[in-house]
Symmetry: C2
Subunit: 362 residues, 2 copies
DNA sequence: TTGAAAGCGCTAACAT
DNA sequence: ATGTTAGCGCTTTCAA
């Protein structure tokens, strides 16, 4: 359907009829079977027919009806999803929900999703998951490569097996991956810095707080830290930045001690928590009646939302893990079904959430 | 596809095969014709069959194969889009681009989009556009009802003609519209207030600045203003708020004079511009070398983006007009094709844009 | 090397 | 009120 713009509100519709495989067959004087063989390069076609058909195809600007095509295609495609276990973690639970939805959505198209979960705090479990995933002989792999070295190793293996790979949430520098889907961690750190900087004019210190479970071996939290530092280098070089890493998988007592000694320092203006576990810090501060320190963290999970609404957390940066998950599956499926080559990097917007726009995100 | 969690990394896959209309017919002991009649609410089905079939549908969690559905449906559907002329305005150009994309996307499903443009500064052109739209005998209407009275009048006419209507960008209180798609203007005003408030600690005055072309007769800008006032009522009642309306469609000289006299007042801390024309104020301030006044406005249009990056505009609230447009068309199409009843109000997130996350939105 | 025909899941017209 | 059937555009099998 084309149109020519003549004047406001008046269009001429030039309805060039949609041509199909049948039309091509008629125009070329052959059967649709032969046309199909040409279209799919399946040989067993005389040179003469081949030439004629190709000419016609070109002339009528044939575009296959993808809807009809996917209706008929019966091939089963298996996708392996290698993602963090969602049981203890609301962030990954959100991802999991997106997987469940996608599973239903894509089943119709013959796409089958197989899940391989690993423990965020256990590198070995990641290796096990990747091994099992490969054993399943999937047609494509979608992975959250939390662990740097093991991640790269796995990607190499996929490359050897000619398996297409899509990453999400955590970036890894591997040239052969089909696509990375997620936020730009460095930029995200810069943004966090700006939000804190905006909230306080005074002199003092800022803290970057990592929870260690993901930190081990993981790049994207370090990228956030780099971005955070870079901001102050550029905008306010006098600000002191300190970094602490809190070890969560120890006893409660231990990390509380760490936090206590941190918060006792009097000149701290703000804290940037590099994961969705922001609420842990915020709850701790609330309990200790510390109100002056500004807090910026990540993601719209229940506890964070509550604390944000009550003004205990100043900003959240939403990474939109559901949409990342959904898009990762979508991207891989479209690649395998329709040979749609995706962008190498699909960066998600860094969504700033305050208590005055949080409702509009829920 | 269900699974039972046994232990980490081990799943039992219960591959409940995709059920189709044929399976439902078999399970309910009727023919596919009857099932189809139930699915599409076309009556002529006995109460008994109806109940049984509905039960089965629910039980097997039937999901229609949209591919097959759209392959078969040959009916042509005409949609009338009544939207502001995009020629003078980048905001509406973005909307227009979304229309062009949607046009291609939906053509396959037999949906034809007809455009009826009107001039933002000319109420009469709106009336003309609506008249022409109706003359086209569309199956559904998508409209941006900038002008309050004429808008309501038109909606009443649509109701009389039994035409389904979707609104976007501008809300209008009309009970019979299928859906409003856009931001919550009141909330948006509150957010703007918070962003300004955050940026300045001192005492002083804030200004709400409307450009008049859209203001005449239009509610959503007044809603923004209300939200803005409500914020300070709640959070910082001592702040003075003044409101000015700048008349843009007069000579340049005139509105510059208005701005000049406004900016001469010494105690102004920040300005909230209620439309995407934020750049006009910012450029003016830049030219007059005014750096201290904070500026919050709307939308990611080229000039705004540039000024935001250079720190001249402090925040933009993105209304995402492309996605609004896209979703409006999507909503109406799905309603007409598949009788999908949308939510009455689809509120878009209020996206906060600063110079540190703007890149992630482009 | 080619053509004819079945069928993907669904809709809608038609027959009963 | 219900069942049967043609056919949407394409792929694929099978027979010629």
């Amino acid at each position: 359907m084309n149109f020519t713009y003549l004047s406001i509100n008046i269009f001429i519709l030039i309805d060039n009829p949609v041509v199909g495989i049948k039309d091509i067959a008629r125009l070329a004087g052959v059967s649709i079977g032969t046309v199909d063989r040409v279209l799919h390069d399946r040989g067993r076609v005389s040179a003469k027919s081949l030439k004629k058909i190709q000419e016609v195809i070109k002339e009528v600007n044939y575009k296959p009806n993808l809807i009809a095509r996917s209706l008929v295609s019966k091939k089963k495609i298996k996708l392996a999803l290698i993602v963090p276990d969602f049981k203890q973690d609301e962030y990954w639970t959100q991802s999991q929900k997106a997987v469940e939805v996608a599973k239903d959505d894509w089943a119709v198209y013959g796409i089958q999703l197989d899940l391989f979960l690993f423990d965020l705090e256990d590198i070995a479990s990641f290796s096990r998951a990747t091994k099992k995933a490969l054993a399943f002989k999937p047609d494509g792999v979608i992975v959250v490569p939390i662990f740097y070295d093991k991640g790269l190793l796995f990607l190499k293996k996929c490359e050897q097996n000619n398996l297409p790979v899509v990453l999400f949430n955590t970036h890894l520098p591997a040239s052969k991956t089909l696509s990375y889907i997620g936020t730009d961690s460095f930029q995200s750190g810069m943004l966090a810095a700006e939000l804190l900087h905006l909230s306080v004019q005074e002199k003092g210190k800022f803290v970057v707080l990592h929870f260690d479970e993901e930190l081990t071996n993981s790049v994207h939290m370090l990228e956030k830290e780099k971005g955070f530092r870079a901001y102050f280098m550029k905008e306010d070089a006098n600000k002191m930045i300190s970094v602490i890493t809190v070890v969560l998988n120890n006893t409660k007592h231990e990390y509380q001690q760490q936090l206590t000694s941190l918060l006792n320092k009097k000149d701290i203006l703000g804290i940037f928590v590099s994961t969705s576990k922001t609420y842990i810090v915020s709850e701790f501060m609330e309990q200790k009646k510390i109100n002056t320190i500004k807090l910026v963290g990540y993601d719209l999970i229940t506890k964070n939302i509550d604390l944000l609404k009550r003004g205990k957390i100043n900003f959240l940066i939403n990474q939109n893990i559901e949409r990342q998950t959904e898009l990762a599956i979508h991207t891989m499926s479209n690649y395998l079904l329709y040979k749609q080559i995706p962008e190498k990097n699909i960066h998600f917007p860094l969504e700033i959430i305050t208590r005055y726009n949080v409702l509009s995100y829920l």
